[in-house]
């Protein structure tokens, strides 16, 4: 039992640091340290820089652009990148559909899509949820009827994060309405967002911003060649897609970077004539948050170092998602408290905008979604109760 990183891991960390020092653009770094959120443009630019280095899809097999890093190395890269002020690499292509195409896709799909995910040429969004199918995803109703070489797709997807900049969507559709169980009769399609009949409508969320969309599909003709895996059998691949993430699921790197920003803010802000961080009530709340974070960080490392080569998400991963998202919410909450009365200013480009952009009331409101998307906390608990506790 040894809590230190190996010499090889430390060397790797130095290599990552050197890359970040040389290649992370100043404006992106300053956005983070200035308490602002990264823009789309910054995220895409950063993706391309990391892709250029060959490090953008470390968890993929090497033949498709992976790096052959161990889970601990992947974690180190994520932690260092977040602490340097880099944006998170968007997961939709890299972590979600990419690994599914690798596992279930045709040779043509692999040859076409994988390099474009790596390069950042294509940008993906997820078309899973529907107005009537959230946690109960298997009740989805979007219909795909086969007509020769195409499926005619009709229906409505929702909560489509980053649907606006995306040019491709992976989507679950019902191809057999008469299947015995709702989980049967579902297929996975890769859908070109520029096809006729695709309409993206913005949903403005509680924080006043445009992160998610409705996607309406009216007689969209998707080539049968764009189906991943067998017809009617997508439920297994969809579950693989959801269970894929193990390294990043707890958001340890991001949580660590946000906690540092919170401490920085608590040094800057004053309460009763002294820095907020010295206020005993605030300090006690911060101590509780740091405590939970330390526990998460070590539990995450315990999980990562227990994953054997070729294995996927371990049994602890839903639990890590749960606590990771709670911690993110609480650091946003403390940041809102730290911002003080000015947190109530709604207009972000008013004075003090720097703090408000990331950490106003907007941050607290936005963070409500963290325990809902990607499997709500309640669904995560159901999974643990069944799979791990066998209740």
């Amino acid at each position: 039992m040894d809590f230190s990183f190996t010499a090889e891991e430390e060397r790797f960390r130095e290599e990552v640091r050197a890359f970040l020092a040389a290649e992370l653009p100043d404006d992106i770094r300053e956005t983070h340290f200035g308490f602002r959120r990264h823009s789309w443009e910054q995220m895409f630019r950063w993706h391309k820089i990391v892709a250029q280095k060959g490090w953008v899809a470390p968890y993929w097999p090497v033949e498709y652009g992976g790096t052959g890093w161990t889970p601990v190395q992947q974690y180190i890269f994520d932690e260092e990148a977040m602490m340097a002020g880099a944006p998170r690499l968007r997961p939709f292509g890299l972590k979600m559909i990419g690994p599914v195409i690798i596992k279930y896709g045709s040779d043509a799909q692999k040859a076409h899509f994988l390099p474009r995910i790596v390069s950042g040429e294509d940008y993906w969004c997820q078309g899973f949820s529907e107005p009537g199918a959230g946690s109960d995803l298997a009740s989805l109703k979007t219909k795909a009827v086969r007509a020769g070489d195409v499926y005619k797709v009709n229906g409505q997807k929702t909560w489509t994060t980053t649907g606006q900049p995306a040019n491709w969507m992976f989507t679950l559709v019902r191809t057999d309405p008469d299947a015995a169980k709702p989980q049967q009769g579902i297929s996975l399609l890769l859908l070109d967002m520029t096809l006729p009949g695709v309409e993206v409508r913005p949903i403005i969320t509680i924080d006043g911003d445009h992160h998610v969309n409705e996607v309406w599909l009216n007689d969209v003709e998707v080539p049968v060649a764009m189906r991943v895996g067998e017809e009617n059998k997508a439920w297994t691949s969809a579950k693989c897609l959801q269970g894929n993430e193990s390294v990043g699921i707890a958001n340890v790197g991001q949580n660590k970077a946000e906690l540092r920003l919170l401490r920085k803010l608590a040094l800057m802000q004053q309460r009763g004539g002294a820095p907020l961080i010295d206020d005993p009530v605030f300090a006690a709340k911060l101590a509780d948050l740091e405590t939970d974070f330390m526990a998460l960080e070590i539990t995450n490392l315990r999980m990562l170092s227990s994953i054997k080569p070729g294995e996927n998400a371990a049994e602890l991963s839903p639990l890590l998602k749960l606590r990771g998202s709670e911690i993110q919410q609480r650091s946003n909450e403390l940041a809102m408290e730290a911002a003080g009365p000015r947190a109530a200013v709604w207009q972000k480009d008013a004075s003090d905008a720097a703090i408000l952009d990331r950490y106003g009331i907007h941050g607290w409101l936005l963070s409500r979604a963290f325990t809902i998307f990607g499997g709500s906390s309640e669904v995560m608990k159901n999974i643990i109760a069944k799979q791990t506790l066998r209740l």
């Binding site: 039992m1 040894d2 809590f3 230190s4 990183f5 190996t6 891991e9 601990v72 540092r260 401490r263 920085k264 608590a266 040094l267 820095p275 961080i277 010295d278 005993p280 300090a283 006690a284 911060l286 101590a287 509780d288 740091e290 405590t291 939970d292 330390m294 526990a295 998460l296 070590i298 539990t299 490392l301 315990r302 990562l304 170092s305 227990s306 602890l316 639990l319 749960l322 606590r323 309640e378 608990k381 159901n382 643990i384 109760a385 791990t388 506790l389 066998r390 209740l391």
Partner: protein, 349 residues
């Protein structure tokens, strides 16, 4: 990073598990003595095994699973650590390792009302673990001239030992000294704090075993207890409560191991951060987990004869001794503020 048990850790933990399983009620202590386990933390040159805190941890966790609560931490583990880190005149260490000289250790938490001046001890060592059965008391206190330590014969004139049975079955003691002569030695500046941190980690390691046993017991109860014609574990509200307990126990394990490892290291600030986080977690989330397990059981969970009783009490002991959840939150808050200031100056944590 390697979280697998070492062969040494596994061997000691297995031995302890066997002893705890085979011992009769109240008999575990004698079995531990005859298995030669008292010397675990004494230095090798005095016949001990010289174990570090992390190496010892799985054995203490194994102990926490047991029926019995032998006073191992107070009467063997802590005296062993203390004796190896400070000169102890007039101390029969061979007898301590073999079990013929019962000892206990009074740490700063116990010695606040104890003074050692002009070669005599006066005042009270408060609630000393293992103190009721001890013949020799090792102590460590913050004096006017810095930390000092020593060994004192509890059969000497002027010593009064008042037993204090604790909620987990251990018998601690208030020990009062009235002009009892003692020879003092200078201790390292960090020793009192280190001892207190180690004591907290050891109790939490035992509490971890109790929490793991409590988790198993409660999970099993949910699958066997039927109400409304079905196992109560089929109700989602109980499933989610059980998931929380599962969850917190995993995080608790992470903190126990990390704090134990930090006690073996050289970085005192890092150790204090980890230990305070551990104690805060124990006193908030694990206390709540124990309460939740009782709640999930219903009436049976509130009875003294049911196993949950001793497991809960073991967690509460770790919660209450060597700094409360609040004192540790305060210490952690200060350490976090200090680290934040260093961070701003570019000094790495």
């Amino acid at each position: 990073m390697d979280f697998d048990l070492t062969d040494e850790q596994r061997m000691i933990a297995d031995t302890v598990t066997d002893v705890m399983r085979d011992a009769d009620d109240g008999g575990a202590w004698q079995s531990l003595v005859s298995s030669g386990l008292l010397g675990m933390t004494y230095a090798e040159d005095v016949g001990g095994a010289g174990l570090g805190v992390l190496t010892l941890t799985p054995a203490l966790t194994a102990m926490g699973h047991g029926k019995d609560s032998p006073p191992v931490i107070g009467a063997a583990v802590l005296p062993g650590f203390l004796s190896g880190r400070c000169e102890m005149a007039d101390f029969d260490v061979d007898g301590a390792v073999e079990g013929t000289n019962p000892v206990a250790a009074a740490l700063p938490e116990n010695t606040g009302a104890l003074s050692a001046e002009n070669g005599t001890l006066n005042g009270t060592a408060d609630m000393v673990l293992g103190g009721a059965a001890a013949k020799t008391l090792l102590f460590c206190l913050e004096g006017a001239n810095g930390p000092s330590c020593g060994a004192v014969d509890l059969t000497a004139d002027g010593v009064t030992v008042t037993p204090l049975p604790l909620l987990d079955g251990q018998i601690a003691a208030d020990i009062t000294f009235d002009n009892v002569p003692v020879s003092l030695s200078q201790a390292g500046a960090d020793l009192p704090n280190w001892m207190s941190d180690v004591a907290a980690v050891c109790l939490c390691a035992t509490a971890l075993g109790a929490a793991q046993a409590m988790r198993e017991l409660t999970r099993d109860y949910l699958t066997t207890r039927k109400q409304f014609g079905r196992p109560i574990g089929s109700f989602q509200v109980l499933q989610h409560a059980m998931v929380d307990v599962f969850h917190e126990t995993e995080h608790f394990e992470s903190l126990v191991l990390a704090a134990a490892s930090a006690c073996d290291g050289d970085d005192a600030k890092h150790r204090q951060r980890m230990v305070s986080a551990l104690k805060r977690f124990c006193g908030t989330r694990m206390r709540a987990a124990a309460a939740s397990c009782i709640q999930m059981h219903g009436g049976i969970g509130t009875t003294e004869e049911y196993a949950l009783d001793r497991l809960t009490k073991r967690i509460l002991i770790a919660d209450m001794l060597f700094g409360t959840a609040d004192t540790h939150a305060a210490r952690l808050g200060k350490l976090v503020a200090e680290a934040a200031r260093n961070e701003e100056k570019g000094i790495p944590a």
